[in-house]
């Protein structure tokens, strides 16, 4: 994901901003390929994997539908 996407993303639970932690950047440096987004309010953590942030709330994160 592009770093500028951070301005658009919010914690799905309380709509507060997210802080980027442990960011790994891609080869040309303009994309975040891995890291964690942390809600500044509730502290919930959202992983970025293969360049895709997973902003599902904790109870929806399983890979297959219920």
């Amino acid at each position: 994901m592009k770093e500028s996407l951070l301005d658009i993303l919010r914690c799905p639970m309380d709509k507060h901003e997210l802080e980027l932690e442990d960011a790994e950047y891609g080869e040309n440096g303009d994309e975040i390929v891995a890291g964690t987004l942390v809600c500044v309010e509730c502290g919930e953590r959202y992983r970025i994997e293969d360049g895709i942030p997973n902003l599902l709330p904790p109870d929806m994160r399983e890979e297959t539908p219920a």
Partner: protein
Amino acid sequence: MDLGERRGLETDVYQPAEDSQLLAEAACEGIDRDRDCERGRTTGRPDDRRLVLEVGTGSGYVASRVASETSARVIASDLNPHAVRQARRDGLEAVRADLVSAFADDVFDAVLFNPPYLPTEPDTEWDDWMERALSGGEDGRAVIDPFLEDVGRVLAPAGVVYLLVSSLTGVDGVVERAGREGFSAVALAEESFPFETLSILKLVR
């Protein structure tokens, strides 16, 4: 290759069909026209590109077309991990999220949605990702209604929604529900098929 064979090959992500094409065309045309109408307005964003979100992007077909045919920056989101991976492989900015819940207030100039809309018996639901991409619950509106409740929050002041609705779901009911959330609806395009008529509604406030 016919549709049945294509579906057989790709069972995890809804592949583009007539509904996708109808939404892509209406959205591309509308987004370009809106840009012309509002040229010169200040968005507060540094590059002043219009910002478009496609919810439930599936194969990414609609988002890709809007990204290539308009000047807008397009974000593609989906609940389905296979769908967001495919969207990213196709060069889209992908986010795994539930409807618009993970996005900030007042940011999008347009939100596009081809929702799961087929009315489905309760005991046949949510078995796999494809079922989830198609099924709209007993009345066909199980996903559309929560979307309508929250989408106004993420729209910029002049932002609009492009929503695909089928006659199988009932266009009047969706228009009425959108009205209760503060939207008026304009039908932009319509196409009839043997078992349903598809409409693109533009929702404005």
